[in-house]
Symmetry: C2
Subunit: 484 residues, 2 copies
């Protein structure tokens, strides 16, 4: 950090901690970077910048934005309104550092880049690491991709084109092509000498040194701290980690993330089909993947597509419509079941009053089992070894809660409508429905996973269809037998 930059930063710190009024008085006598200590840009800072933008007080908001880190600039662009965003990007496209785009939400990034010219995007891409560059390009429309690729230097173009040949969400898309590979016979001293001399050829960050044989096959991995703590004459090959985790380029990113997480890896070499080193995946890529996958599951269970927060109203409406339409079909099937018993309901209107209770309890109990199963499948804690144990357990849990709620709702119904038989009928229906809810809640995602479907995507609709049908059918059916 040169001293000039430093002064600037301190000024901004003083400004923004003043604005956000945070309680860090005990550190005020220190040379701290309070603003960096918070996760994200404060709302006050955002407001100040947008106010400056609206005042046409150009210099001020430019200065403020220039002080922001890449992550904060991305945060700013995401949180301001679309008009402000367009205003900012059109007025000062040069001021936005290329790195900023790798921090942005991918949908927003896509729409922002798509509004630019191919040569502008090519310029941005040329300044990024190979993994970040590929990440930006892969989301764009294919025709636009080609326009951009044409404008890249031969080296970057090759990297991008080769990267795009790997399957989506695979290790090959995730990896960076900048890495340190060292022949196995080198000593620690030689490695250090090499690193001191080769400065310009090295990646901006690296965490492990990869040891290769003459054919570029990975022999081992050496964390930097082992290099630093070893004598110069030590052979680098003797420092490799016991377990070597090479990642095939075709491996799905979710599985890569599981390996990183399980083994606590900092980085791992990626190899091609011939087991030759072609890249390296680092922990920061993995953090993104874990985030993404967890987000995908939670959103899919509710029938939402990712990136909704920044999508336009009509496009959001459309994507939500599909899921709701599926649910409408479910609801109509349930209505048909009810209509089969319309004569019964006409005679005892209490049935119409109580029937949603049975269906809704089944849906909720089933969703509990379903969520546990979906999550356990995602983390591979659920596999064929414990499938039957988990389904069995969920069925028992559902049935036990069914018995509990049968007692409660039975008493309530009997007292409310003065009929013991009605109480018994709703109790029996509750047990039947929660038995099915527990069983299906666990079994549906496991079954979908087995046949290669995404368990998070369609489980919920299937489950509520079943719990609605079973709930209405059991309650109204039993009622038509015992109450008429």
């Amino acid at each position: 950090m040169d001293s000039d930059e430093h002064t600037k930063e301190n000024e901004f710190d003083a400004l923004s901690s003043d604005l956000s009024g945070n309680e860090s008085s005990h550190r005020n006598n220190e040379k701290t970077h309070d603003d960096q200590n918070k996760a994200g840009l404060s709302d006050d800072s955002i407001r100040e910048i947008t106010d400056a933008l609206h005042d046409a007080d150009n210099d001020n908001h430019l200065a403020l934005i220039n002080e922001l880190s890449h992550a904060d600039t991305a945060d700013l662009l995401q949180k301001i309104s679309q008009e402000d965003r367009e205003d900012l990007l059109e007025n000062l496209p040069i001021e936005i550092d290329p790195q900023t785009f790798s921090y942005m939400d991918s949908d927003l990034c896509k729409s922002t880049l798509s509004a630019m010219s191919a040569s502008q995007v090519a310029k941005i891409i040329s300044e990024l690491d190979s993994d970040d560059a590929l990440d930006l390009v892969e989301n764009l429309d294919e025709a636009f991709q080609q326009d951009i690729i044409k404008q890249l230097s031969a080296k970057t173009r090759l990297a991008i084109e080769e990267g795009l040949t790997f399957p989506e969400d695979s290790a090959g898309r995730l990896m960076q092509r900048e890495f340190i590979a060292i022949p196995q016979f080198w000593t620690v001293g030689k490695v250090i000498d090499y690193l001191r001399v080769a400065t310009d050829d090295l990646p901006s960050e690296f965490y492990d040194i990869i040891i290769i044989d003459p054919l570029y096959h990975v022999v081992g991995e050496v964390p930097l701290n082992r290099v630093l703590r070893s004598k110069r004459k030590q052979k680098i090959e003797d420092l490799t980690l016991d377990d070597l985790h090479t990642i095939p380029a075709e491996m799905d990113q979710e599985e890569v993330a599981l390996i990183f997480r399980r083994e606590g890896l900092n980085s791992a070499p990626v190899v091609d089909n011939d087991n030759r080193l072609i890249g390296v995946i680092t922990f920061d890529d993995i953090i993104d993947v874990i985030d993404e996958e967890a987000e995908e599951d939670i959103l899919k269970l509710a029938g939402v597509e990712g990136g909704d927060l920044y999508r336009a109203v009509l496009s959001t409406t459309g994507s939500r419509f599909r899921w709701l339409f599926l649910n409408l079909l479910t609801a109509i099937v349930a209505s048909i079941v009810i209509s089969m018993f319309d004569a019964t309901i006409e005679q005892i209107v209490a049935l119409a009053v109580l029937m949603p209770i049975v269906a809704s309890m089944g849906g909720n109990a089933g969703t509990q089992a379903l969520t546990v199963a979906v999550r356990a499948l995602a983390t591979k804690e659920l596999s064929s070894t414990n499938t039957f144990r988990v389904i069995g357990k969920e069925t028992i849990v559902g049935t036990l809660n069914g018995i509990g709620f049968a007692a409660i709702t039975g008493v309530i119904a009997a007292l409310w409508f003065g009929s013991h038989t009605l109480g018994l009928v709703i109790g029996a229906a509750m047990i039947i429905n929660l038995f099915f809810a527990g069983f299906c809640g666990a079994a549906i995602p496991i079954f979908l996973n087995k046949i290669g479907s995404d368990p998070a995507l369609s489980s919920t609709v299937l489950l509520t269809t079943i719990t609605d049908i079973v709930g209405f059918f059991a309650f109204l059916g039993l009622a038509s037998i015992f109450l008429i």
Copy 2:
């Protein structure tokens, strides 16, 4: 890796790739570690071990387990049945490496450790890094904690006791106390010489060197790769990263994770109230946090407590019961609304058939908005700057879908029951309910977050209460006005 260990590993590789029959023929001629390349232990390996266990063929399963990595051993213990687990742990408690426990699900780990004696647990804890040790101890019952702490060495005891003084889920609980701190005036050469000599005092892994002043205040952080690529006479202080991210020990782990994620940090120094260095948090701790927080959100939305997969049936039933009971209250309120219109339903039984459609569509549309809001709050993408924009957008999206589904269900209802007015009534009710669903789906979690409640925990119940009440009230109310 000594050559003896190596031979063992290769034998096991051959065995397990034989068993799992995976398609890595293109790499068979290489000295690979195929088994390490998969995320987790294969089901076949688990089956082989449990079979050996059941055969009382002791030597065989012991040998197989000894070959496993810590993560795989933890995986094995999690996936086998409770009886097998107890069998294994009682027959060979000495064989389980202490590290294994840090890979286990926390609930399962707690019950396993609780079944041991305090001195056994103390022995396990003494062999772990300070952060892993604290992680195990903090989950145990307080009395048992005290018994264990008494048996620890003075140094470990102090670390654990001090660690427990930090709030749960804070940076202080997450950090490890082993780190490399270097005075600011040292040169690169001196740092390397120190690391080579101090081998025994160094943490087993480290990624950054922390630069401190004489009062132990953090001055900067230097990634190891910068040390390696610099000349010996270079001053270490000149190599520090531009942005220093010191983490206060009291900071919540969720916020720490956001900082790591945003800034792509590998490790960060943790400071006490006087801004003095007391520990370091590394990326692997953060990956665990991100996992945990994402899991918490998805499970809470469905009313499930974490660790359910490994919990006993009765305890799971109890924890689920509470959530279902809340939902029962919701359902009863909805029933009361229906009962207000029992005379209307008695006259037109079609209302009973159709009413669940309106309520269920509202619930589903609301859940979409709610999930997006809960997730955006967790990642801090939603804050006071864009609150009104998000609520406004979700309300519009809900209303637009309401109009779409009003048309569809209106036509279906009119055709099914031969009444235009019934079609108009259900259409109007649909629009009203989906308007409220969109608005409340976004507003409820934002409101709960504002008043300091957990938005993931209670949003769903509140939302479905509203969509049920509004749905039934609008549909039956309009019907009683226009159809009777």
